[in-house]
Each structure stands twice: as structure tokens, then as C-alpha cells.
């Protein structure tokens, strides 16, 4: 087992439902995982697999009134966040757990300068200092995220900055209160590839400097390979495979993970048609009784359709590498 920091965050059997006219959608349906200090944990999965909903549930900012966290525990330092009062929870957001959203273009308030928005983040968490001192701190944070000429940038409005620069500012706001955990929900999807690489390197550097833990939500395996130590693969609201990134890449054990990795196009091999996974993910209001991937799985048999598989150790022998697939029972 690799070297691990202290256990920071533990999600235990989390269920988040969306109540809609079509019925109750089980967006997150029994998700459990641990996040250790200083590590980067990746979550991959298709759109609608429950990745973002899991993240929002941890911070308890699910879209009300449709979404409801119905079951489970989210333990931070052994305290259940789901049992905290709204006020306690509000104070914890940004201070202990910060979040970086998908689109930097829209996650900054257009009518305030960058400096004011960082100062505000500091003020929310009770930093009562004169404005000038907070502004100096804002400049410092901007420098930390490698924004050039931060003394000038604090006076700029969001529309005067490029997308990559804005995402750095969003990162700076997330970093400003020195949180222990950052949840990044596809922070690079709206950036172009070179800026993406820069930003990921920045996140890595920041993590090394501050030792924070990161929960990184993405659907880009390239980013996972570069950034994460451990990986969770989600499908239809559940984690189907989890383990160290290398182990999963070397030997994906769930057919879904195999199919996902198989559909990543390679530069070296020319193909006439890109590989895709046949069929559609199941409707969340009408989940199959057994394994949720069974209708699309080339190996599915009777048992798969009847009962949801428990977690089995992967045949690669790595104790942390587990997957929920009946086929692994025979191997084990």
C-alpha cells in the first residue's frame, strides 16, 4: 500500500435523490470513498453518472428543492457534515472545503473587480482587517496562482481577462482561505489544451506547496493520468471501480472501465471510426434490478441481470483495487 496521509474526508453510503415529475431519480445511490490528506482523488464517469451531485452533496449545496440527500454520512475529522446546522455548514464552505466550478467565464461576478471578489471571500470567513491589508493578501494569493502583475490585476474586471486567467482567479479565491480540501468540478473543460496543461501543473504545484487534498471530477482520462493518485469510476450513481490510477489503467477490471478506456482515441493508431460504448446509460428513475451496466455489457449473464454485484478484489493483486462485477468472483 502506498504512503498515505491522514484520513480527511470519508463519504459513507451517500444517497442523493432528485424528485422530479418523472419520478425519483437516484442520482447518487450509495457512494462511499475516503480522501486522504495531500492526495488527489479523481472521479470519472459519463454525464449524469452522479459525479457532480456527489460533490455538491458533500458541501450540501444540491439544487433545492428538487434534490434531497436522503441517506449516508459525510465525515470531516470524524464529524458528520450532514448533521450540521445550515449556519455551521455555511461557515465551513470555502474555509475547510473549497470548490472550483466548471466554467470560469461565468463564476466571477461581472460587476466587481478581481481584487474585491478575493477580498470578499476573505471577509466571508471573518477576516476583519482593513481593506488595504486584505487587498495585499489578495495580491499575494494571485501571485501564488501565478497571475502576472497581480498589483494591476486586482483592479481589473472579469471581462478584461482571458479564460485561463479567470480560472486562475477562481483558483485563487478557492485557495484564499487555505482550505484543506478542494473539490474541482471539471475545472478545465472550458479551457483550451495548452492552458489546460498549464492550469493542471499549477494545481499540482499548489498541492505540493500547501498539502491540500483534491477531489478532481473529470471525464478526461489524460488529466486523471497526469494528476490523480487514486481513481473512482462512477456509473449510474454508483462507484463501479476504484483503486490506484496505475492499477486501473494497467488492468481495468470492470467492463465499463474497460469500455471507457477503450474509447479513448490514440494518436498512434489510426482508426476509421472512433470506438464508443453501445447503448445508453440507464434511466435513473427506472434502474435495472441487477448490475446497472448489464444492458450494455458484452459479458452480462443471468446473474448480472438479477443482483447487483458486491465489490471484488481485482485480479491484479493490488489490495486497493476493487470493482463491482460478478466476473471477478470466479477469478478471485
Amino acid at each position: 500500500m502506498a504512503d498515505r496521509g491522514d484520513l480527511l474526508l470519508e463519504v459513507d453510503d451517500l444517497h442523493t435523490h432528485l424528485v422530479t415529475k418523472a419520478g425519483v431519480l437516484r442520482a447518487v445511490d450509495g457512494v462511499s470513498f475516503q480522501l486522504y490528506a495531500g492526495e488527489t482523488l479523481g472521479i470519472v464517469g459519463e454525464s449524469g453518472s452522479g459525479k457532480s451531485m456527489t460533490a455538491l452533496s458533500i458541501l450540501r449545496v444540491v439544487p433545492k428543492p428538487a434534490a434531497r440527500i436522503v441517506q449516508g454520512r459525510v465525515l470531516l475529522d470524524g464529524e458528520d457534515l450532514l448533521k450540521k446546522s445550515d449556519e455551521e455548514m455555511r461557515r465551513l464552505r470555502g474555509r475547510d472545503i473549497a470548490m472550483i466550478l466548471q466554467d470560469p467565464q461565468t463564476s466571477l461576478n461581472p460587476v466587481f473587480t478581481i481584487g474585491n471578489q478575493i477580498v470578499e471571500a476573505l471577509r466571508i470567513h471573518g477576516q476583519r482587517a482593513p481593506r488595504r491589508r486584505l487587498l495585499a493578501r489578495a495580491i499575494e494569493v494571485l501571485r501564488q496562482v501565478r497571475v502576472a502583475a497581480p498589483e494591476h490585476r486586482v483592479k481589473a474586471y472579469p471581462h478584461q481577462m482571458s479564460g485561463g486567467m479567470k480560472q486562475r482567479v477562481v483558483g485563487a479565491i478557492a485557495m484564499s482561505c487555505q482550505p484543506r480540501i478542494i473539490i474541482a468540478d471539471e475545472p478545465t473543460t472550458s479551457l483550451d489544451v495548452t492552458i489546460q496543461a498549464q492550469y493542471l501543473r499549477l494545481l499540482q504545484d499548489l498541492q505540493r506547496e500547501t498539502g491540500l487534498a483534491m477531489l478532481f471530477i473529470t471525464h478526461d482520462f489524460g488529466i486523471v493520468a497526469k494528476l490523480c493518485q487514486r481513481l473512482l469510476v462512477m456509473y449510474a450513481g454508483r462507484i463501479v471501480e476504484s483503486g490506484p490510477v496505475r492499477a486501473i489503467f494497467d488492468r481495468p477490471s470492470h467492463p465499463y472501465t474497460q469500455a471507457l478506456l477503450g474509447s479513448v482515441p490514440s494518436i498512434d493508431i489510426k482508426v476509421a471510426r472512433l470506438v464508443s460504448i453501445e447503448g445508453q446509460p440507464p434511466a435513473l428513475w427506472d434502474l435495472p434490478q441487477g448490475c446497472r451496466f448489464a444492458p450494455r455489457c458484452p459479458y452480462a449473464d443471468q446473474r448480472c441481470r438479477e443482483a447487483y454485484p458486491p465489490e471484488f478484489r481485482s485480479p491484479d493483486g493490488d489490495p486497493d483495487h476493487v470493482a463491482s462485477c460478478w466476473r471477478l468472483e470466479e477469478v478471485a
Binding site: 458541501l59 449545496v61 428543492p65 455555511r90 461557515r91 465551513l92 464552505r93 470555502g94 474555509r95 473549497a98 470548490m99 466550478l101 466548471q102 466554467d103 461565468t106 463564476s107 466571477l108 461576478n109 461581472p110 460587476v111 466587481f112 470578499e120 471571500a121 466571508i124 470567513h125 483592479k155 481589473a156 474586471y157 471581462h159 478584461q160 477562481v170 479565491i173 478557492a174
Partner: protein, 302 residues
């Protein structure tokens, strides 16, 4: 009209928008709506503030020997530049004092309406649910009630008064503000910067006040400016109908009403207050248009 003669396009917004060479060449004359500002100053602000010194006569004083005197260019005298009314009161002085009422009613009424409407719109739009439903039904009720009817009721209850007019104005306006603000909040609350503020631990009050309100302030200011014209017209029509500001207060609408029986022979009694209303409303609207373009944060510089 005056606008044409001056050879200046009244609306500077077009000029404000295309920056660069043309702006530099024509300078401030192009960048600011100078003509509407000057007209407003001359017709509304200066008379409202300084009529005690500027007006040639007491607006309530009758000069019975000089009744129905025409304006100076229509065969009258310089003593009564814009002529006199049936009771021999100086039309110019009455218009100048009337500016006070126009200004006071529009300022107080609009501020009241805007504050109430904006607050309700912000809360309703942000909280949604029951608060929203109740607030919006109130808006519907308010919009369904004819303002004249309301003024009539108030006038019947308390007698026509200055305060009643202000209440009517606020009552008519708040619903428009509430509805407009709510609509904008509905879209703003889904924006990512609100979500970001939430995950950063900002409270509801803080999000509404610090993040959403500054984004609707432009709309509110522009709406308020554009309402000045509406309010002056409303005040004028209420006074004209006798349910607004009571006589003999020289409110502009009353002045128009006073001259209506003599409009063929002594046209100046109604005409000049009418022109004052027209100029004020027109300039205020042009100014409002300019403000709307000007307050776009995209055009704001560091």
C-alpha cells in the same frame, strides 16, 4: 423642434458606443447628452430650486387688471412674459413653482416605488417558492388596479393631497420594479458566480445584497430614470382630473387643466405648462436611454 435647430443628435448613446476617433474629435459634446441635460436644468431643476429668486411674480398672486394677458410675443408685456391666466396670475411663475411639485413627486414617489419593488423582487426571485408566489400575485393585483381608480379612492378618503399623489405613484410603480427585478434575479441566481459564492460560504443575505443586487442596480437606475416621465404625466393627469394635487397649487397638470375652457382664445394658459411637461419627459427619457448604454459594465473601464 429645438432639438433639430441645435444641430445635435439628442441621443448621445450612439456616440458613446462608437468609441475612438469620433469621440476624440467631438469630445464631451458627443460623449454626454448635453442638450437633454441643459433642457432638464432649465425646465426642471433650476426652477424647482431657485424659483423664489427667479420667478417674476408670486404664483398665487392675482393681478385682476391683467387677466388673460397674452405672452409677450403675442402682443403682451414684458411684465408677464408668458401671459396670465383667468385670475391674472403669472403663467411663467406658476410653471416655475410647478417644477417643484413635479420634481418632488417624481423623486419621492419613484424612490419609494423602486425601493419597495426592488426589495420584493430580489427576495421573491432569489428565494422562489411561496415567497415568490405571494409577491407575484401582489404584483398582479397592483397591475390590475387602474391607477386613476386608486387615486380616486384615496382622494375620496383623505381629500386630494400632495401625499396621496406620492402614494399613488409609489403604488403604481413598485409592481413594475418588482416584476423586472425578479425576472433578472431568476436568471442571475442560476449563474455560476452565485453558485461560487454559495460554495465559498456566503449567506443568502450576502448573496442577494453583494452579488445579485449590484447586477440589477443598472436596470433599476435606468428604469427609475425612465419612470420620471411616466410619473410627471401621471401626476399631470391626476391633477387634471382634480384628484391629484389640490388647487391652487401650481402643479403642471393643474395648470393645463385650468386653461382647457379657454384653450381657443387664451391658449397660452394650457400650452406653456404642456410644453414644460413635454420637454421634461422627453429629456428625461433621452437621458435614461443614455444611462442605460452607459451603465453596461462591459463598457466600464478600470
Amino acid at each position: 423642434m429645438a432639438t433639430r435647430e441645435a444641430g445635435l443628435p439628442p441621443a448621445a448613446p450612439a456616440a458613446a458606443a462608437d468609441a475612438g476617433a469620433s469621440t476624440r474629435r467631438r469630445g464631451w459634446l458627443r460623449r454626454y447628452p448635453v442638450l437633454p441635460m441643459v433642457v432638464l436644468m432649465a425646465v426642471l431643476f433650476v426652477p424647482a430650486l431657485f424659483s423664489d429668486w427667479l420667478a417674476p411674480h408670486d404664483p398665487y398672486q392675482s393681478y385682476l387688471r391683467n387677466r388673460l394677458q397674452p405672452p409677450v410675443f403675442w402682443g403682451g408685456t414684458w411684465e408677464f412674459v408668458l401671459g396670465t391666466d383667468r385670475l391674472g396670475r403669472c403663467v411663467l411663475s406658476r410653471i416655475m413653482y410647478g417644477a417643484r411639485y413635479a420634481l418632488a413627486i417624481s423623486l419621492v414617489g419613484i424612490v419609494l416605488g423602486a425601493v419597495i419593488g426592488t426589495a420584493l423582487g430580489l427576495i421573491a426571485g432569489y428565494l422562489r417558492g411561496w415567497t415568490d408566489i405571494v409577491a407575484m400575485r401582489l404584483v398582479d393585483i397592483s397591475l390590475a388596479l387602474p391607477s386613476v381608480l386608486l387615486a380616486l379612492a384615496l382622494a375620496a378618503a383623505w381629500g386630494p393631497s400632495f401625499q396621496a399623489v406620492i402614494i399613488v405613484v409609489a403604488f403604481v410603480l413598485w409592481a413594475y420594479f418588482a416584476r423586472q427585478v425578479r425576472a433578472e434575479v431568476l436568471s442571475l441566481r442560476e449563474r455560476d458566480f452565485v453558485a461560487r459564492a454559495r460554495v465559498a460560504g456566503a449567506s443568502n443575505g450576502r448573496i442577494i445584497w453583494r452579488h445579485i443586487f449590484p447586477n440589477v442596480v443598472n436596470t433599476v437606475v435606468v428604469m427609475a430614470t425612465l419612470q420620471i416621465g411616466v410619473v410627471i404625466l401621471l401626476e399631470a393627469s391626476l391633477s387634471f382630473l382634480g384628484i391629484g394635487v389640490p388647487r391652487p397649487t401650481p402643479a403642471w397638470g393643474l395648470l393645463v387643466a385650468d386653461g382647457r375652457q379657454l384653450v381657443v382664445s387664451a391658449w397660452w394658459i394650457s400650452m406653456f405648462p404642456g410644453v414644460a411637461i413635454l420637454l421634461t419627459v422627453l429629456s428625461v427619457n433621452l437621458l435614461g436611454d443614455w444611462l442605460r448604454d452607459r451603465l453596461d459594465p462591459k463598457l466600464r473601464q478600470v
